[in-house]
């Protein structure tokens, strides 16, 4: 087996140093009835690199990848072009095969990247401080709700109907065990978001209001009045950003009064990957920093007076605080944070703005072309690169049929909100810089055929 370097001679020499007759002697503490006498039956033996590659390639070929079809899916995961150098750099062994930077003298590479990442995220989201990443946007959102509970000592969280249903589902699962009360309903097909309803629902028991920006239907709203209303009642505003490229064109939630801003960083550097690994972004106001979950990297100096970086404020974390920790999280999403940071460095804010305007421009063109299809209405007044179409038929069936014809035409609201059949004719369409005018035309024609 090609990854096992010991030879039988090595093994014999080592056993004699140890003073054991065979490796089996080293397993003496395993009770006899639990000891397997040989390898597990019913499983194949080892295979060559060529054979394994062949097997996996065959499984890969059974999928219709985004690059092989006109592609318009979003709803929390977005297809963006990642420059070639990003993947080369993250595959350097010193990044790929490094560990958590607990020994800072030999991990300044990782630590400096984390410091740069934290700064990029804080600035992008419009906040004072950001952590070194969480697993993904949905768990970051849930952790933010927990943080709001700790800070306000209240247990009722109001979730906007525009919040991604998976994020709502995760929060609901966790709330069953933390005792938080969550207020949520499925979205209504209005051009405006539910900000007014959210403001009306805030009371003295509210720990936080959680709102997505842009929301699941692609709508964008000014969060300032919501922040003011929350603060007046002693509650926090949590903003969730599932498409960070939007912040290259739209005002940052942190600048509109959000206390905690979380998000999914996958759009920048990470790729679709069928759902993971992704990248949780977590940022907040300076005054809440000790309540933040996750790792934090801070600047310091070494014994020779040189600037360096270390993990800090560790007493919040599980390995020290154990049952009193701010979270049980141990692993972050290090390599994905690196990919995000490299891509963001290549873009710079100039490139990010250009990328954002390219996304928005193409999305506007697509929306205007698609609404011309008989049986299609555009829901949104405002959107960035994702909008909702209302179809004259059930959207979920349309999506399946389009797929059979080689068009990946958006995500149906039926898939996202199976318990709300009244919105089942809604289709969420994302348009990024990877979409061509030909793709839009193909999609429009295919849709026209289906709705005829």
């Amino acid at each position: 087996m090609r990854y096992l370097p010991l030879t039988d001679t090595d093994r014999q020499e080592m056993l004699s140093v140890i003073g054991a007759a065979s490796v089996d002697d080293l397993f003496v503490d395993v009770p006899a009835q639990a000891r397997l006498s040989g390898q597990i039956a019913g499983l194949p033996d080892h295979a060559s690199e060529l054979a394994v590659e062949r097997h996996m390639a065959a499984l890969a070929r059974k999928n219709l990848s985004a690059g092989e079809a006109p592609f318009f899916l979003g709803a929390g995961a977005y297809r963006h072009h990642v420059p070639a150098s990003v993947d080369h750099l993250i595959q350097r062994g010193e990044f790929l095969t490094a560990y958590t930077p607990y020994q800072p003298e030999i991990a300044q590479g990782t630590l400096q990247v984390l410091f740069e990442f934290q700064t990029q995220v804080a600035r992008l989201l419009g906040c004072d401080v950001a952590n070194a990443s969480m697993y993904d946007g949905s768990t970051a959102c849930w952790e933010a709700i927990g943080m709001a509970r700790r800070i306000t000592k209240r247990g009722k969280a109001i979730l906007s109907s525009g919040l991604h249903p998976h994020y709502v589902s995760v929060a609901n699962t966790m709330a069953k065990f933390t005792g938080d009360a969550l207020v949520h309903e499925a979205p209504k097909l209005d051009a405006a978001t539910d900000i007014e309803a959210l403001i009306a629902g805030i009371d003295k028991d509210t720990s936080c209001v959680v709102v997505q920006y842009p929301d699941i239907l692609g709508r964008i709203a000014d969060l300032t009045p919501l922040a003011e209303a929350a603060h007046a009642a002693g509650a926090l505003l949590i903003a969730v950003v599932t498409e960070p490229v939007a912040l290259g064109a739209c005002r940052a939630p942190g600048h509109m009064g959000a206390d905690i801003v979380v998000g999914e960083g996958q759009s920048i550097g990470v790729g679709l990957q069928f759902g993971g690994p992704y990248l949780g972004l977590f940022a907040c106001k300076q005054k809440y920093v000790r309540q933040m979950p996750g790792r934090l990297c801070g600047e310091t100096v070494d014994a020779a007076g040189k600037r360096g970086f270390v993990l800090t404020l560790s007493t919040r974390e599980q390995h020290i605080r154990r049952e009193k920790a701010t979270s049980n999280i141990c692993t972050n999403s290090g390599l994905c944070a690196l990919a995000f940071s490299i891509h963001m460095t290549l873009l710079g804010e100039k490139g990010l703005r250009e990328l954002a305007m390219l996304n928005h421009g193409l999305a506007v063109q697509a929306a205007d072309r698609l609404r011309q299809v008989p049986g299609v209405t555009l829901l949104n007044d405002s959107f960035f690169n994702e909008f909702t179409l209302l179809l004259s038929k059930d959207a979920r069936e349309i999506v399946r049929t389009l797929a059979d014809k080689g068009v990946l035409g958006g995500v149906s609201l039926g898939r996202l909100f199976p318990d709300a059949p009244e919105i089942g004719h809604g289709l969420v369409v994302a348009v990024t810089e990877t979409v061509t005018p030909e793709d839009i035309e193909t999609f429009a024609k295919a849709l026209e055929e289906e709705l005829a």
Partner: protein
């Protein structure tokens, strides 16, 4: 003859004390390059990418256009490549040498894994694509799940947890759901004193009160103390096996039987599965739920701290409560069971733990690794991992105190203490000395039950030559620490940085960059 002169000397003169290295103008030292922050070398006017021109359209951003300067510098492609290449060279990594971190299983990360994960048929798939278009991806998840079930002898597996600690949460939530389903909500979870911090943190998160179980002098869970504490208020016991002292819990089955008899469940922390994969099945030991760290036992890369992946194998009793979504075989193909289809199949699931389906990028890597090794290779992994650790234990137990060395072999990791070091010398000094010797330090001060603990896990991917070099280094440092060599106090000398001031970082946290002019104005 033609007298062709060399023109310059070709053998160096021997270096003397007087040739101490001078300072350089740049602060660089040949290949050891200092690197500033992107905020110091980049500019908001620079970008390393180029785009087609955006179509001219009337904005639909609803008066929310971003007009502030964001403060994100850009670099050209070549500056970017240089910046990150230079930074990478300030890191230790498995690709450079033995990485002896106990309980982290720092084995070689095969490059075939990386190639497979990047096949567009896997990498360029959207999680919400219609299921008919992603049958190959669902097949991967299913095939990996079948391997994990067979390797552990369990009933089923939840694939969606994103990391080990997330998996612990999954296991405990399944246990909680099972207890609630039988109308027997309980309030306490028992955790050994030697457990990893995620165990009590996770238990507290789920709303349980955590109580410690003491250890016996031979480093195992005190069975009698545990049996005495079991009662109608105990929901579960969390055991790590092999435990954090690197020892196999001999009484595991007895413990499980006692726990089940008391109406509770056994959660097993599977971080140390590398010691027993292919040789012992946790299902045979009475385990109800166990998370597997794909980034430990199954070689997915550590990436500087993540991402991980923590699928959880479940017993028949807990299987009905597993989280959504999951993949199952349906007819000729595979289906992803999400919320709305759950009712028919899985009405008692405790719910969804994460958006989408889990760490697909880690599933492809782990399955590639598993197929490469096969059942015979995986058993050899455990054999060699345990052999390597015992070789290190017995090569050093004459010079370092091994608190459990006398009671028998260790499993995949060797544990030493700081007993016998000279007055004022600590595990930390040995660890920092190891850095100068060209190794990442071993796990220090964990588990807490041993004073000045040093936990060494070589893994099976180290050759005998690599082990011998490590033993040489650690022996030298142990001898120096026992002799009270003051030079150790200043280690590391040769790393990119000397010891760093963690007190300052915690007292005055600086977590983001501030432009110097702004920082001054703020003061």
């Amino acid at each position: 003859m033609t007298m062709l002169k060399e023109g310059r000397p070709t053998a160096p003169q021997a270096v003397t004390e007087a040739d101490a290295a001078p300072a350089t103008a740049t602060g660089n030292r040949a290949l050891m390059l200092e690197e500033a922050l992107i905020f110091e070398i980049g500019s908001t006017d620079t970008t390393g990418v180029d785009f087609a021109e955006a179509p001219k359209v009337a904005s639909r951003l609803g008066n929310l256009a971003r007009t502030d300067g964001i403060g994100l510098p850009g670099l050209s492609e070549q500056e970017t490549v240089r910046h990150y290449t230079r930074l990478s060279r300030q890191n230790y990594a498995i690709d450079l040498g033995l990485f002896p971190l106990g309980s982290c299983t720092m084995k070689h990360n095969p490059r075939l894994n990386e190639k497979v994960a990047r096949m567009p048929g896997f990498a360029d798939l959207h999680p919400l694509a219609p299921q008919s278009t992603v049958q190959g991806a669902l097949a991967v998840i299913h095939e990996l799940a079948e391997w994990l079930i067979k390797l552990t002898g369990m009933h089923s597996v939840a694939m969606s947890p994103k990391a080990g600690a997330h998996g612990e949460l999954c296991g405990l939530l399944a246990i909680r759901a099972a207890l609630e389903a039988r109308g027997d909500a309980r309030s306490v979870i028992l955790v050994p004193e030697s457990a990893h911090g995620t165990n009590p943190a996770t238990a507290a998160f789920c709303g349980y009160k955590v109580e410690d179980i003491p250890a016996t002098p031979d480093g195992r869970v005190d069975l009698e103390a545990l049996k005495a504490r079991l009662g109608p208020d105990v929901a579960a016991v969390m055991i790590t096996n092999p435990n954090t002292c690197g020892l196999f819990e001999r009484d595991m089955k007895t413990i499980s039987d006692a726990v089940h008899a008391a109406g509770a469940f056994v959660y097993c922390d599977g971080a140390n599965f590398n010691a027993i994969v292919g040789r012992v099945r946790p299902g045979d030991l009475g385990v109800d739920a166990m998370h597997i760290n794909l980034h430990k036992t199954f070689s997915t890369p550590h990436g500087g701290g993540g991402p991980g992946s923590g699928p959880v194998v479940l017993s028949e009793a807990l299987a009905p409560f597993a989280p959504l979504p999951f993949v199952e075989k349906q007819g000729d193909g595979f289906a992803l069971v999400e919320e709305e289809t759950a009712g028919e199949h899985h009405g008692r699931s405790f719910g969804r733990m994460v958006a989408f389906h889990g760490q697909m990028g880690m599933f492809t890597r782990a399955l590639t690794y598993i197929l490469s090794h096969g059942a015979d290779g995986l058993r050899q992994v455990a054999n060699d991992a345990v052999l390597n650790a015992n070789y290190i234990l017995r090569s050093l137990d004459d010079v370092l105190d091994a608190p459990f060395g006398a009671s028998g072999p260790c499993m995949h990791e060797a544990l030493f203490s700081d007993k016998g070091l000279a007055e004022g010398f600590t595990t930390l000094d040995i660890a920092k000395g190891l850095i100068d010797e060209g190794f990442h330090p071993m796990t220090m001060y964990f588990p807490l039950v041993v004073h000045g603990a040093m936990l060494v896990e070589p893994t099976e991917t180290e050759s005998k030559t690599a082990l011998d070099q490590f033993i040489l280094a650690l022996r030298s440092l142990a001898e120096r620490a026992k002799a009270g060599d003051e030079a150790l106090k200043g280690a590391p000398y040769f790393a990119p940085r000397r010891r760093l001031d963690e007190t300052l970082a915690a007292r005055k946290p600086v977590l983001t960059w501030t432009e110097p002019a702004l920082a001054e104005a703020a003061e």
